[in-house]
């Protein structure tokens, strides 16, 4: 199987909450490989964390997040699975689960942007 690689993109509800999100993500410091911040979006990348674990990170971020995309890639097959969460009435709803082809989740990231307008970050950007 190999270790999964997971990409997490979160849209911060309020720019002042950026530090809260950073702190929450910091808990996983041992495993994150890189982090990029674009305006109100934070993207990070994790080795050895699957989609379930990353989903728990998203749930813990709570009010700080408006939307979040988790894309997890199985190392051996390069198949990616994405989950999109959207905040409504103080809770995060899971609105989409999609599995892509053997291209490290690139088609999943593209699909989510085409159909939900959310520019998630994957392995190639």
């Amino acid at each position: 199987m190999g270790d999964p690689m997971t990409y997490l993109t979160v849209e911060i509800a309020d720019s002042e909450l950026g530090a809260v999100v950073h702190d929450a993500i910091d808990e996983w410091k041992a495993s994150w490989a890189s982090i990029v911040t674009r305006d109100d979006t934070i993207a990070s990348q994790y080795h050895g964390i699957d989609v379930e674990k990353a989903t728990r990170v998203v749930e813990r971020l709570g009010d700080a997040v408006d939307r979040a995309l988790v894309v997890s890639v199985i190392d051996s097959s390069r198949v990616g699975t994405g989950r999109l969460f959207v905040r409504v009435d103080d809770r995060l709803l899971l609105v989409e689960t999609v599995t892509g082809g053997e291209n490290r989740g690139v088609d999943v990231v593209d699909y989510i942007r085409r159909h939900y307008g959310f520019p998630g970050v994957g392995y190639d950007a």
Partner: protein
């Protein structure tokens, strides 16, 4: 519930969708009858988040009737054929159409949802989805479903690429993007080293006015590009370099720009190799101008220069040496306070005593090392 979901009051529709979201959590079967109405609430609506999350719950439970929605598409296609054949024939056919545009649209969208969660159950119905593409109301959902089936790791989509290519110019950017993604999967870009059919269609799409379509086209093209770019003709390479380079320079979207740069590296490598082969008389017309132009372009950007330099290293003819020196000089010119010339830059890489200039990117020194290997030949 149905009356509330179709109420004229957006707040009422939203509240109904929220209630149904909870119902779907406990009893997805009970919520399933409202799935067609929910489809109408997913786009640009106050209720859209709840409606989408409710559909997600219903479809995850696998309780939708695939056959009924496939039948709706097939009836729509039959109606269309019937109308087309009676048009202008003088036959006054009063038979009403059996399905409405709304039903067609809803069924196609629900089949796209099913494609995500039960791809193996839907794979046999790809013919019905393909058949529905000419029907405008069904097209967005049908194309989305075809894309999802094409990219599912558990199914193989049995549809000719030609049938999909017809829609890469559709008015709806989501249809264009899904069509381009499907072409990439059907032609196995990234898995087959010679995947160049429909290349001109895909490279044309990197100039699409919609950023998500550009991103999708580049996502397809960057797969395995280090291999298949070498199967392109000189004309195809030339046209691709121009288009992709324009994106590297001007595109503001970070994902599109990053992918364009990645594709440019592979195209640059193929161009230089092709040009060098031509200059040596190995194949076809010499293309020295292309290689010279490329060196000038690469000199503006050290990351690109590295790719070009690696390719130059495979060839040891006189022209290549001139290009290599030109490249070094141009890069040295970017650091006038550090290097008087390209040869001085080369000398810097010889220092192993820790005196490397701290304010010069490591990439420049790595690049000079690559070029130094060639000089040592």
């Amino acid at each position: 519930m149905r009356d509330r979901l179709v109420s004229d009051d957006p707040a009422e529709r939203r509240s109904a969708a929220a209630d149904l979201y909870h119902v779907a959590g406990d009893d997805p079967d009970a919520a399933a009858e409202y799935a067609p109405v929910l489809v109408d609430l997913t786009d640009g609506e106050a209720a859209s988040e709840y409606a989408t999350a409710t559909l997600h719950r219903i479809v995850s439970a696998g309780v939708l009737d695939i056959e009924a929605h496939v039948n709706t598409l097939e009836e729509g296609v039959a109606d269309d054929g019937h109308l087309a054949s009676s048009f202008g024939s003088g036959v006054d056919d009063r038979n009403p159409q059996s399905v409405t545009e709304t039903e067609l649209r809803r069924s196609a969208e629900l089949l796209a949802w099913i494609a995500k969660h039960q791809p193996t159950d839907l794979a046999d119905e790809a013919g019905a989805l393909r058949g529905a593409l000419p029907l405008e109301p069904a097209r967005p959902g049908a194309m989305k479903a075809l894309f999802l089936l094409s990219s599912s790791p558990t199914t193989r989509l049995d549809v000719p690429t030609k049938a999909i290519v017809a829609y890469v110019d559709d008015d709806d950017p989501r249809v264009r993007g899904d069509a381009i993604g499907t072409v990439g999967q059907l032609e196995r870009f990234g898995k087959r080293h010679d995947a160049v059919p429909y290349f001109s269609t895909l490279i044309g799409a990197v100039e699409d006015p919609d950023v998500t379509v550009k991103q999708t086209a580049l996502g397809v093209l960057t797969r395995g590009a280090e291999y298949w770019t070498h199967s392109l003709s000189a004309r195809q390479l030339h046209s691709a370099v121009e288009r992709v380079l324009a994106l590297c320079d001007r595109e503001s979207d970070p994902t599109v720009r990053s992918r364009a740069r990645s594709l440019f590296y592979d195209l640059a490598s193929a161009v230089v190799n092709t040009a060098a082969r031509s200059a040596l008389g190995v194949d076809g017309t010499p293309n020295r101008a292309v290689a010279d132009g490329l060196v000038e372009t690469a000199a503006r950007d050290v990351a690109l220069a590295s790719t070009v330099a690696t390719s130059l290293n495979y060839h040891h003819d006189a022209d290549t040496e001139v290009r290599r020196d030109t490249l070094l000089d141009r890069i040295a010119e970017r650091y006038p306070d550090r290097f008087a010339s390209g040869s001085e830059l080369l000398q810097t890489t010889l220092n192993e005593d820790g005196k490397r200039p701290g304010d010069v990117p490591a990439l420049v020194l790595d690049l000079a090392s690559v070029l130094l290997d060639a000089t040592a030949e």
